[in-house]
Every structure is written in structure tokens, then in C-alpha cells.
């Protein structure tokens, strides 16, 4: 009777060990889905380094799961901890992402305003520029260039509307640069006239 009880306890213990050491598939699936979500939400554009770290952490957690899976006595405790921490980190990035996107958006809008101001400055200077001998041709060319810059300016809003804030910022920088170059040319023409 005593022997039977011992055997029963042993079988129960083995059953507990075996059933308690299942792969944390739900945690894995949750972590993968969360990373996919945050990527779709724009982390690949606006938080690329953070996203890379999360992917590396996921790989490390999966490596740990696989390593334990090959053992007779599986201990998924570390993997579970890693996956839980990963999920927390993904959630933190997801929570921080709108602010990062908002910052990129605000930066693009700021550059759009600066580009507009640069065009307006060039136009105002152009209106004051002496259209006399030696400058008329130059002014005509600059006027045409400003028209080109103004046409391109509309593309910034298109990019902003498409939520391509990095593209919008690049466009705004380029237009601002072009308008500033025209302003310098007008100033040079005015100097030439003096």
C-alpha cells in the first residue's frame, strides 16, 4: 500500500512537470501580433530603431523557447518573462508612437510654413526689384522659377494629407531652399542695379 502511494505520487509529479511545461504559444502569438500592429501603425518609419530592438528581443525569446523545447525538463519561465517584458515594451512603443508621429507631423508643418514664408519673401522682393536695364531678363527668369516653386509647394499638402510626414518635410526643405536661392539672386540683381 505504501509502495502504491509512492508510485502514485511519482506519476502525479511527472504529470505536473510535463503539463506545466507547455510552450507559451499564446504569449508568442500576442507578442508577434503586437509587433505587427505597431509596425503597421508607422513604427517602421517613425521609430525604426525601437522597432528593431523589439524584433531582436522577440528573436531572443523565441530562441529561448526553442532551446527549452529541446530539453527533457522544459523550463519556459525565462521565455515567459522575456515575452511578457517584450509585450510591455511593444505596448510602451505603441503608446509613444502617436507622439512620435505627431512630432514628425508638426516638424513637417513647421517646414511647410517656413517654405511658404520663403516663397512670400522672394515674391515681395521680386515686386520691389528694379525692372530696368540689366535686370529685366533676370527678373523674368526668377519669376518663372518662383512659379515652379509655388506649383511644387502644393505637393507638401498632398504628402501631409497622405500622412507621409517625412516626405512632406523633405519637399518643404527643398522648396524652402529653392525660394531662398531665388531671394539671393534677386538681391544680387538689386545690387547689380545700384
Amino acid at each position: 500500500m505504501k509502495g502504491l502511494t509512492k508510485n502514485l505520487v511519482l506519476v502525479l509529479a511527472i504529470a505536473v512537470v510535463l503539463t506545466g511545461c507547455k510552450q507559451p504559444t499564446q504569449l508568442i502569438d500576442d507578442a508577434k501580433a503586437a509587433i505587427e500592429d505597431v509596425t503597421k501603425a508607422g513604427a517602421d518609419k517613425y521609430a525604426a530603431d525601437d522597432l528593431q530592438k523589439l524584433n531582436t528581443d522577440l528573436t531572443a525569446a523565441l530562441d529561448e523557447v526553442n532551446a527549452q523545447d529541446k530539453k527533457f525538463l522544459k523550463k519556459f519561465g525565462t521565455a515567459k518573462e522575456m515575452l511578457t517584458k517584450l509585450k510591455t515594451d511593444v505596448d510602451a512603443l505603441k503608446a509613444a508612437l502617436p507622439a512620435k508621429i505627431e512630432a514628425a507631423k508638426n516638424a513637417a508643418i513647421q517646414l511647410q510654413t517656413e517654405a511658404k514664408a520663403a516663397i512670400d519673401e522672394a515674391k515681395a522682393l521680386l515686386a520691389k526689384a528694379p525692372k530696368g536695364k540689366g535686370t529685366a531678363k533676370d527678373i523674368e527668369a526668377m519669376k518663372a522659377e518662383l512659379t515652379g516653386a509655388e506649383t511644387a509647394f502644393a505637393e507638401i499638402q498632398t504628402a501631409l494629407d497622405a500622412q507621409d510626414y517625412i516626405g512632406a518635410a523633405d519637399k518643404a526643405k527643398s522648396i524652402k531652399e529653392k525660394a531662398a536661392a531665388v531671394t539671393s539672386q534677386i538681391q544680387a540683381a538689386i545690387e547689380k542695379k545700384k
Partner: protein, 370 residues
């Protein structure tokens, strides 16, 4: 019993000494280096530029890490990292090679796209110079400005090593350059038309022959060369730089088109005091101009209620002024021409006279490249 206790104690002490003197080997530092290298490879874009090799590297890294984990699972005394260390060293070497390959690939892409951008930039500059020369600034310069903006955006993408997107922006820039070239060619294509050239050459020859035969003064204006030549008894006695209007290279058709007429005219009035220093009024529109205007009007090529225009002059005020269709000269040159010209003096205005003209050759090359 006492002896047995002493023996057991000695054995226990010996075991403890043995355990303490045996160090557990540490995991190889190469494992950490491989992780750092993996990060560097990711950052360099290895998954994009050398996908197959990068996947191989990742698999080897995973396998080596699994071996470390297996070794760590062993009791300290039995751990042996040396074979894994060798594997990591090989992995590191492969990773470094892969990084160099990716960097090399990126460098060659960067060089290729930079050269493309530089070529487009040079093309834009050349076109700008041509617009300056031909005074064709409107649609051409607008398109060129748009091309420059696209090129600048491409430059920003180059800094971020986004070569594929950069390629798209270069292509957009090229589209605007082609638009600019097309706008320019719309104006300049007449200057490569053999029939037009022959007509202009005939007008020029006839003018010079008449000047010689009648022993008179004659004025020949070459729009493409931006030159006014004064002939006396068929011999060129002076050549002067001139300026035209915004659309001076086009043939005048109607009032307000800011084009300069082409044809055989004569001076109908000398104006000693004009808003443009001194002026010589010519008989535009002549009979040919009126026929061309009527034809264009019938075809709907002339805006409604627009007349044929007039008051085309050779005047002073400076060759760098933009005229509305007249021919502008520096005042000192105007003095000379005004002094020699009389009412009735022949004024022939042509587009160009020589097909071998260097400017025309440039346009041809330009059209070929376009």
C-alpha cells in the same frame, strides 16, 4: 569511529578544495560580438541588399547561440566553449565580410545615383544658360525649378541611403527637364527647319544685294545671334548687340504676343526723342504679316478681339531691356545707327542665316540628348 570521522572530514575538505579550484568556463565574448555585428548588419540594410547571405548569417547565429545554451545547461565543470568559440569566430568573419559587401554595394549605389544626380544638375544648368541666352524664361524656367526641387529631394534621400526612392525622384526630375526641353524646342524647332533657314537666308542675301545695287544703307537683324548688322553699299560696316522681348524668338503674329516680327521692312519714321532714347519705326505689319494674321485668325489661333499690333521699333534704352517685340540697343550704338539710317532704309529681320551656326549645333545636340 573517530578514525572514520577524520577520514570523512578529510574527504569532504578535499572535495571542497577540488570544487573551489575548478573554475566554471565563461561564455565566449564572441557571442556578444556576434550580436553587435548582427545589429550593425541590420542597420546597414543587409536584409535588403544581401537578403540571402543575411538569412544565412542569422541561421548560423541562431545555431551557435543554441549550442551556447546547450553548453550552459551542463554542469559547470563539463562546459567546453572552445568548439563553439571557433564557430563564432567563423561567424564573425562571415558577418564582417557580409557587412563589407553591403557597404560596398551601398557605396556603388550611392556613387551611381550621385553621378545620375550630377548629370541631371549639369543638364539643368545648361538649359538655364540656354534660357538666359534665348530669353525663353517662362515655361522653361518654371519646369527647371520643379526639376531642381525634385533633385534636391533626391539628394535628401541619398543622405538617408534610400536609393530606390531616390531613383524615383531622379526620374521625376528628368520628367520636368524633358518638359523644359520640350517647351524650349517648341520655340527653337523653327530654327532647324531648312525651309525657314533658306527663306531667311534669301531675305538677307536680297537685302545685301539691293544695298549694293542701290548703294544704300541696309539693316539686317539676326534674332538667334542677337545681332544687328549695318550694311553700306552691300558691305557690313558695323555689328551691334541687340536685345529682344520675352518671346523674341517667335515670329510676331498679333498684338501683345511680345514676339519680334520676321520679314523685309523699311523705316517709316525717325523719332529723335523717345521713351527709349531714340527710335526708328518700321512698317510692321507689312502685307505678308497681314496675310499671316488673317489666316491665323480664321484658324482660331489669335485671341478674340485681338488686333495685329504695330509700333515695332529699333530703339535705344539698352540691349538688356526686355522689349515687347521691338529691337533694343545700347544708346551709343543707337546713336550710330540713327545717324546713318533714313526713312526708307531697308530693315530685314530674320531668325537665323546659317545652319552651321554654333547655337543651332548646340540645339541639335540638345534635341538629340532629349
Amino acid at each position: 569511529m573517530k578514525t572514520l570521522s577524520r577520514t570523512s572530514g578529510a574527504l569532504l575538505l578535499g572535495s571542497l578544495f577540488f570544487v573551489c579550484s575548478c573554475k566554471t568556463p565563461l561564455a565566449p565574448p564572441e557571442a556578444q560580438q556576434a550580436e553587435v555585428l548582427d545589429q550593425a548588419l541590420w542597420r546597414s540594410g543587409a536584409s535588403f541588399y544581401a537578403q540571402e547571405n543575411y538569412v544565412q548569417f542569422k541561421q548560423s547565429l541562431k545555431s551557435a547561440k543554441e549550442k551556447i545554451a546547450r553548453e550552459k545547461a551542463k554542469f559547470g565543470w563539463f562546459r567546453d566553449y572552445e568548439p563553439i568559440r571557433a564557430e563564432f569566430r567563423e561567424l564573425l568573419q562571415n558577418g564582417e565580410d557580409l557587412l563589407a559587401k553591403v557597404e560596398g554595394l551601398k557605396s556603388s549605389k550611392s556613387k551611381y545615383y550621385s553621378e545620375q544626380a550630377a548629370a541631371l544638375s549639369a543638364r539643368i544648368e545648361r538649359l538655364k544658360q540656354m534660357t538666359d541666352y534665348f530669353n525663353e524664361n517662362g515655361p522653361v524656367r518654371k519646369s527647371l525649378a520643379q526639376a531642381e526641387i525634385k533633385l534636391s529631394e533626391a539628394g535628401l534621400l541619398l543622405q538617408k541611403e534610400q536609393f530606390e526612392s531616390m531613383g524615383n525622384y531622379l526620374s521625376d526630375s528628368m520628367t520636368f527637364i524633358r518638359q523644359a526641353e520640350q517647351a524650349m524646342m517648341d520655340v527653337l524647332s523653327r530654327y532647324m527647319d531648312r525651309k525657314e533657314l533658306e527663306k531667311w537666308r534669301r531675305w538677307a542675301d536680297e537685302t545685301i544685294v539691293e544695298s549694293k545695287a542701290k548703294e544704300t544703307i541696309a539693316i539686317l537683324v539676326n534674332k538667334l545671334e542677337r545681332k544687328l548688322t549695318l550694311y553700306k553699299k552691300g558691305v557690313a560696316v558695323g555689328s551691334y548687340d541687340i536685345g529682344l522681348g520675352k518671346y523674341g524668338l517667335s515670329d510676331k503674329l498679333y498684338s501683345g504676343d511680345e514676339a519680334t516680327p520676321e520679314g523685309r521692312y523699311h523705316i517709316i519714321r525717325k523719332i529723335p526723342s523717345s521713351p527709349f532714347y531714340k527710335a526708328l519705326l518700321i512698317n510692321y505689319p507689312n502685307e505678308e504679316d497681314q496675310k499671316a494674321f488673317a489666316l491665323a485668325k480664321n484658324k482660331g489661333l489669335v485671341p478674340a478681339e485681338t488686333g495685329i499690333g504695330g509700333y515695332i521699333e529699333i530703339h535705344g534704352g539698352g540691349k538688356d531691356n526686355l522689349t515687347k517685340g521691338c529691337i533694343g540697343l545700347n544708346d551709343r550704338d543707337m546713336d550710330e545707327i540713327y545717324r546713318q539710317a533714313e526713312v526708307g532704309t531697308a530693315v530685314t529681320i530674320v531668325g537665323a542665316v546659317s545652319v552651321e551656326n554654333t547655337i543651332l549645333a548646340d540645339i541639335k545636340k540638345f534635341e538629340k540628348n532629349g
